[in-house]
């Protein structure tokens, strides 16, 4: 979407830096670059904010919306890095206050890598939900439809619900992991279907907590003031804020290890233009999170929310279903099944690419960190 924008932006910086590197007016050029960058950011987040709350394509917090968000993140990351590092004398980066800000940024980057991995694990759970919903859909679409199929659908839907209401607390993970197999007749098999998604591979590490990571990432994250606001500390702040923000959205949307107490406050400087849309997105998701958090849920991902609602309603239907069923009710259910099928289709299309995209973001963070470290090393410690 912003591919051409971006390459021209990068080209601009590179040409500028080459031309004016040793000349007067360097600083003004830089301010101009930064303004252009912020303008682009503002547009991108405004576009994300404008997504409809509901609808067939690109709804707010849908899989395709999140893919867009991660794309925006990747673009910002490249551009920010260009502003910070391209054609720049390493010594500039290792001077105060950057000698403190950059290492802090890199710590956030490391935490973001772990969050990417946690989210990748979480997407496995979402995929598992998709598979269960697909079973329910295929049962409910059977013709002729009878009690057998209703029971089949119900079984899948009940598994789906308990998989969705995953308890991300560490204690439950331990319990699941330690539970020994029960060989007695049919005991212990009840929650087998989702148990494994909470087991060992679900964890990033023992005692790791997504919400604590976000909390730690927001520490010392403050918008630069005064003259700093228009020079190098500004892009460091922007990049930090965007990393924290994107990770925060991912955690809110996609289930992952230990999200309780996820902060709904991010230090967004609302006095600058470019953060307006970002702050609105943040408020909107924060509200939603507060509403849903207590219920214990799979996350704010649009498709999961939709699946939960439809699943609940279809469980009620299968519970009370008796052959042959009322025509009216059956028509209503058929519509819901079609909707659920559509959700499954969108998951089928979007989840694997999203997983790959998040992996790409992970690799990008790895490379990003290496580049910064290389530059810091060249600059040497400031004595």
């Amino acid at each position: 979407m912003t591919g051409t924008d971006q390459s021209s932006f990068l080209g601009r910086i590179s040409i500028r830096r080459n031309q004016v590197n040793a000349m007067e007016g360097y600083h003004e050029q830089e301010i101009e670059d930064l303004e252009l960058f912020q303008k682009q950011l503002s547009d991108r987040f405004a576009e994300l904010l404008s997504a409809p709350d509901d609808g067939p394509t690109e709804a707010f917090l849908s899989i395709s919306w999140i893919r867009k968000l991660v794309d925006v993140f990747l673009c910002c990351e490249t551009e920010c890095k260009a502003i910070l590092l391209m054609e720049r004398d390493a010594a500039q980066i290792s001077k105060p206050p950057l000698d403190r800000l950059i290492p802090e940024l890199l710590e956030r980057v490391v935490k973001a890598m772990d969050i990417c991995n946690a989210v990748t694990n979480g997407l496995e759970l979402v995929r598992h939900c998709q598979k269960l919903a697909e079973i329910a859909v295929s049962a409910l679409e059977q013709k002729p439809f009878g009690e057998g199929q209703a029971r089949r659908a119900k079984k899948a839907l009940v598994s789906l619900m308990s998989a969705m209401h995953v308890d991300d607390k560490e204690s439950s993970v331990q319990k699941t992991a330690e539970r020994s197999w029960s060989f007695g007749r049919r005991s212990g098999n009840k929650d087998r279907h989702h148990g494994h998604y909470r087991s060992l591979s679900w964890q990033v590490a023992k005692h790791w907590s997504a919400s604590k990571q976000i909390h730690a990432m927001t520490m010392n994250l403050a918008a630069p003031r005064g003259p700093e606001a228009s020079c190098l500390p500004a892009p460091v702040y922007i990049l930090s804020l965007i990393i924290v923000f994107v990770m925060w959205v991912l955690i809110a949307a996609i289930p992952c290890q230990e999200r309780s107490g996820l902060t709904t406050h991010l230090p967004i400087n609302k006095h600058v233009n470019w953060t307006h849309s970002l702050a609105s997105i943040h408020d909107k998701i924060g509200e939603e999170w507060k509403k849903k958090e207590k219920k214990g849920m799979a996350g704010l991902l649009y498709e999961m929310q939709k699946m939960e609602k439809l699943g609940q309603s279809l469980i009620e239907f299968t519970d009370s279903y008796q052959f042959p069923g009322e025509k009216e009710k059956l028509d209503e259910v058929a519509a819901q099944v079609a909707e659920l099928a559509e959700v499954c289709r969108r998951m089928d299309e979007g989840l694997v690419p999203l997983q790959m995209l998040i992996r790409e973001a992970f690799h990008r963070l790895v490379r990003n960190r290496t580049e910064f470290l290389d530059v810091l090393e060249q600059g040497g410690p400031v004595v």
């Binding site: 990748t120 694990n121 079973i135 295929s138 199929q149 098999n189 087998r192 279907h193 087991s199 060992l200």
Partner: protein
Amino acid sequence: MDGCQSGVPTYEGDLHVVAAAHHIVKALGATKNLSDDLRKILIDLDSHLSMITSNIDSKGGRGLVDVEERLDQAERKIMRWETDPMMIWDSGPKEASDYLEAVDETGKLVDGLRGLSVHENRKQKEILHRAMNILQMAMSRLEEELIHILVRHGQQFEPKHMYSRSIRKDIVYDESFVSVEDEPIKETSSRNYSNDESGECIVDLVHADVIPDIKSIAKVMFTSNYGPEFCEAFISVQKEALEQYFSFLGTENLSIEDVLKMEWTCLSSKMNKWTWSMKIIVRVYLASEKQLCDQVLGGLGSVSSYCFLEISKATILCLLNFGEAVAMGPHRPEKLLRLLDMYETLACLLRDIDTLFSEEAGSFIQLQFHELLERLGESAIAAFEAFRVAISSNGSLYPFAGGGVHPLNKYVMNYIRMFPEYCNTLNLLLKNQHPGVADQVTEPDYGLDASLLTSCPMAYHLRSITSCLESNLHKKSQLYKDEALQHIFLMNNIHYLVQKVKGSELRLFFGDEWIRKHNAMFQQHAMNYERATWSSVVSFLRDDNPGSSSMSKSTFKERCKGFSVAFEEVYKTQTSWSIPDPELREDLRISTSLKVVLAYRTFLGRNLAYTDDKCVKHTVEHVENSLLDLFEGSSRSLRNSRRW
């Protein structure tokens, strides 16, 4: 098949045709070696034919009754187990096959009745729904049985039986380079496990006896369109089994942050463990899992590879993430060998990974492996550079007491002694580091051809490392005020260098020319030492006037005294110096002896007339014996010893 359904026969003759067709189908079905697809078609055909027959019969109302009877029978068999506390497959093969037969029968009836449902016969519909209900119950039950069988007959294997896990001596790094002692390192024992895994080991993750059972459950579930349920159950158990095995190996999930903060000794052992677990997980566990999937789900298209990917993905990613974390950590010199271990492990597993995840869906995993390999390679090179930098920049404020072998030298030489084991990998990685060297290189595998080994990239880098080391040692030698001690220090250290090279495979990479040159170098230092120390001492004994027979007594006295004082001074200083190598020490003493003792003996011999005088403080024997005390590393004095 629609043709079959629409053409329901209406007269007697057709009955015979159908009966004949039925016979043929039955006969064909009895044939062995049928493909699964074909068998399924025959089964379908069979159920359709029986349905047609019963429909023809139903003219007289008999057909449906027959169907109902068959369903009743199947239902009884299926329902009996709903209240039974035993698992069916635990109860015996007869029970299991009876149950499967009943399920199969129900499935056939469902298929058949469905085909006829166009007729909107109420009774028929009722039977169909009943049959589907029973089928659902049976499928649910089969899912439980499947999980039970997989769990109950799942087998863990001991990794010990697969690989002898050798513990490689770890060189502990510390900033001062003082921790390495010259212990003999068994070079051959350390890596023998990395070469013997060409043969894949496949084990039975689930007992071989129950594979046919699992297959038969898979078959009936897939035939009844309950494939997704089968997959979910199968994946869930096998995924958890893999995770349990993973923790059984002692590998735990670590966040990147944890890995980056980890202390070196701990990280080193985790890196070792990773190398080991990675091999077992990929070569043994996943290869076996793949086989299991293929055995159970072989004839079902991409189902097998889908299940395999779902089972293994999370664990693989977990292993890869540790690798990523290690590769991005600080590139410290001590990490080099572990990184090379990880690199080599991954490189030799690549082909396995490419085979295991050959389908399109698995290309993601393949890609991640290739990326990590590249990253580990870069990281190893960076650690290699860091090693070189650490050698060059290792500085000292004070001279190293005694002039013996410096710990930096010991550390470096003991460390690079392991490099030949990684020869091919290092050559591959270092090839692009110095374009000048790469040009000379045409053949990447240097084998054991000695003439080529000295010109491979690794050899170049080894020599460059030792030359860094040498120049650092020269710098360190400058810290000594005493010129003689500078030479002792350099002699000791270069001798050590040469010994280490000669005594290991390093000699193949350094070559004879290098060894000759360095031999000459330390010998030169030995000569310089002798000149620096003994020339002035021996000068007292020199005959200034070779023509005349003897010198004056006073001159003799003066010379004698001068010699004694100088000799005692040397004795006092140089007994505290150290030449750790006994042979080298011996050689130097002999050559010193030759020079000093001979001169002293001659000097005394020429002046026999005065030798009774008190001024001759030391006898020749005494001087000779005293020389034996030099370079022992503990200061002594002749002044306090008994006087003659």
